[in-house]
């Protein structure tokens, strides 16, 4: 057991999801007749974290950092290349298709795009009711209809809307349908994959509030994936920051926003504009040079070193592991205070 596993999961902790050394490599093939693998896109590269029952873990990072892939691997929508995902102690990675289908009663997902995530040929009622049919949760026709109506009103839609098709709804309303679908099976755990980033600003808050209310009501556990750091701070209990397939920092919400330890987290936070010209101009800014390297050919050592202003020669060689430097605050940077020798 590495330090990560030991300390992230403390005795007596009520851990619902435990992800250990998760790797998702997408093969890149080439060749004319016989396809052979010429390389891998390391979308997720050795990621470990836990999600405790009832909490929201925020997962942030820029596009292409592997946060969405991580979420899909946790749910086994992609079968990971390596590593394990324990749901209440049971390893999802070793389950077969049938066993996994059974597990879908307990874990669900909400997608980013409210347009492509709803089948345009099904009515809102059918979309919300489908999980009930698939999981055999509707005993009869009446119970089914009542449950669908209940779910729709739960997410703030009128039950009379059940017969409408997705294109008759606005973006925010569609996202509510997506939430209702996820709730249908009474899950314990929901992966929220950028659930508000495709919505208008004034609608985002509606959905965030809805997710929070539902969490309280049904004692839900969320893995909340987003690139908007302000929203993540609002909704999460703990936050993990990803960069190029790695988790570079995990800490409690207050700790990570008040005292970020990883240089990438610092830069990311400083880049978020504040809607107040006076405060915004007074903040310290850490401009990041360059762009995110290709996950096909990631840099050696610490993947962030080519853009890091603190990088030393050592950073090019050593892959920093995630270490606990303060209670509950993990960071993967050899220059972080309290990190110790690499």
């Amino acid at each position: 057991m590495t330090a990560v596993e030991r300390t992230q999961r403390e005795p007596g902790d009520d851990v619902l999801i435990e992800v250990k050394h998760l790797k998702m490599y997408f093969p890149v093939t080439s060749g004319v007749l016989v396809q052979r693998t010429v390389g891998y896109i390391k979308a997720v590269d050795d990621v470990s974290f836990v999600v405790r029952r009832g909490e929201t873990l925020g997962l942030v990072g820029e596009s292409g950092c592997g946060k969405t892939t991580t979420g899909r691997c946790v749910l086994q929508l992609y079968r990971p290349t390596a590593g394990s995902v324990l749901f209440d102690g049971e390893d999802l990675c070793s389950m077969n298709g049938r066993e996994l289908r059974g597990m879908r009663r307990y874990m669900q997902v909400i997608f980013q795009d409210p347009y492509s995530s709803l089948n345009p040929r099904m009515t809102a009622g059918d979309i919300v009711g489908e999980p009930l049919l698939v999981q055999g949760l509707a005993t009869d026709r009446r119970a089914y209809r009542e449950r669908v109506a209940e779910l729709l009103s739960l997410v703030g839609l009128r039950t009379s809307m059940a017969d409408r098709f997705p294109h008759e709804f606005s973006g925010g309303q569609r996202q509510r349908i997506g939430v209702a679908r996820a709730l249908a099976v009474n899950p314990q755990f929901i992966v929220c994959d950028e659930p508000v980033s495709a919505l208008d600003v004034s609608i985002q808050a509606q959905i965030v509030n809805l997710l929070e209310e539902l969490q309280e009501k049904f004692d839900l556990t969320y893995l909340f994936i987003a690139h908007d750091l302000s929203v993540v701070r609002h909704i999460s209990d703990r936050v993990a920051v990803m960069y190029l397939g790695h988790i570079v920092e995990i800490a409690g919400r207050n700790a990570i926003y008040a005292t970020p330890l990883h240089p990438y987290t610092k830069a990311l936070l400083s880049a978020v504009p504040i809607p107040d010209p006076v405060i915004d101009t007074q903040r310290e800014r850490i401009p990041l040079a360059g762009e995110v390297p290709s996950p096909l050919n990631p840099p050696s050592g610490c993947v962030f070193h080519p853009r890091c202003w603190m990088a030393t020669a050592e950073c090019q060689q050593v892959i920093p592991e995630l270490r606990e430097v303060q209670t509950g605050h993990f960071v993967a940077c050899i220059h972080a205070p309290g990190y110790g020798s690499p």
Partner: protein, 333 residues
């Protein structure tokens, strides 16, 4: 400062089979020389259409500018013949678009796309234009410009392409650059790079900037003055300080309250604007925001509130603007 561009009572409508969409319906604003003006609103509020109307680039059909004036350099752009407006486009007023990936021609080299406006507007020779193109790419921070010129758009990342777009926009030393959601398609760290670059260059060359965005944070940092749009109209205008510190329209207030902020303590609950944005084809009588508004009074259902001053340089299109303003000032104090 002198006024560079004045949009007066602009009306651009889309004539679709289902009905007339009044995307821009009586919008007025002015841009001073050297100023950065923000135009903020949610999708479908008409902010992009108003900018495209300035350049007369609204696709027709179905779009048509049915009324108003756009005074630039003493002449009404809407009345110029086609040959004259082409002399304004790219030379006097240039644009940076939202999607750098699709806004550059995939089958032409960066060089061709950079040099063509130089050759057209500044009558440069091929070699001169090439030299200038290299200089411009350097200026926007693209390493190895000589090699990059020979490449095609798909060989660039999104951030790099937006730099190229800025280089193209700057190339003929325009007086005004219109940036339509220039960073929406980019990551937050890249977004900061691009906005800083635009702001620095505009300061250096005294170019006016019109930044169109849905992100209140983006304009707070960069804009001198801000216009807030809702349902085809400007509903509030003022300095960035006015707008963010003393919002005096319920919509602006709602927008500011609904986004969680990193600089303030975390609140238990977000405070969203309830309801959905209105359907531009069937706008209700009176104020378009009335149905979502917490401060609505009976009058709001009958008349459209005009945009009027509430303090020096600060305008609001709300009947209860004064109440909101004094509340905001109390709150700030």
């Amino acid at each position: 400062m002198a006024t560079l561009l004045e949009v007066k009572d602009l009306r651009t409508h889309f004539f679709t089979r289902e009905g007339v969409v009044k995307a821009v319906d009586g919008v007025s604003y002015a841009i001073e020389e050297g100023e950065t003006l923000g135009l903020v609103g949610e999708s479908g509020c008409g902010k992009s259409v108003s900018a495209l109307s300035i350049m007369r680039l609204v696709p027709d059909p179905p779009g048509k500018t049915v009324g108003g004036e756009i005074i630039f350099d003493g002449q009404d752009l809407l009345k110029l013949p086609d040959s004259e407006i082409r002399r304004v486009r790219g030379k006097q007023i240039a644009m940076v678009y939202q999607e750098p990936m699709t806004s550059l021609n995939p089958v032409l080299t960066i060089e061709r796309q950079l040099t063509e406006s130089l050759e057209l507007h500044l009558a440069m020779s091929k070699t001169e234009a090439r030299r200038e193109a290299v200089r411009r790419l350097e200026q926007v921070g693209i390493p190895d410009p000589e090699r990059r010129l020979k490449q095609y758009p798909h060989q660039f990342s999104g951030g790099m392409l937006q730099r190229v777009m800025i280089a193209i926009a700057l190339s003929c030393n325009p007086k005004l650059i219109i940036a339509d959601e220039p960073t929406t398609a980019l990551d937050v760290t890249i977004q900061a790079q691009i906005l800083d670059l635009m702001k620095n260059l505009s300061r250096e060359y005294g170019v006016s900037l019109l930044i169109i965005t849905h992100n209140l944070g983006v304009v707070a940092r960069y804009a001198d003055r801000v216009n807030i749009m809702y349902a085809g109209k400007v509903i509030e205008r003022g300095t960035a300080r006015d707008i963010y510190r003393h919002p005096s329209h319920p919509y602006t207030l709602g927008l500011l309250n609904s986004v969680p902020r990193l600089d303030l303590p975390r609140t238990e609950k977000l405070d969203p604007i309830e309801g959905q944005p209105p359907d531009l084809m069937h706008l209700p009588a009176g104020c378009a925001f009335r149905e979502r508004c917490r401060f609505a009074i009976a009058r709001c259902a009958q008349e459209i509130p005009p945009l009027r001053p509430v303090s020096a340089g600060h305008l609001s299109a709300c009947f209860v603007a004064e109440t909101l303003l004094s509340r905001a000032k109390e709150h700030a104090a």
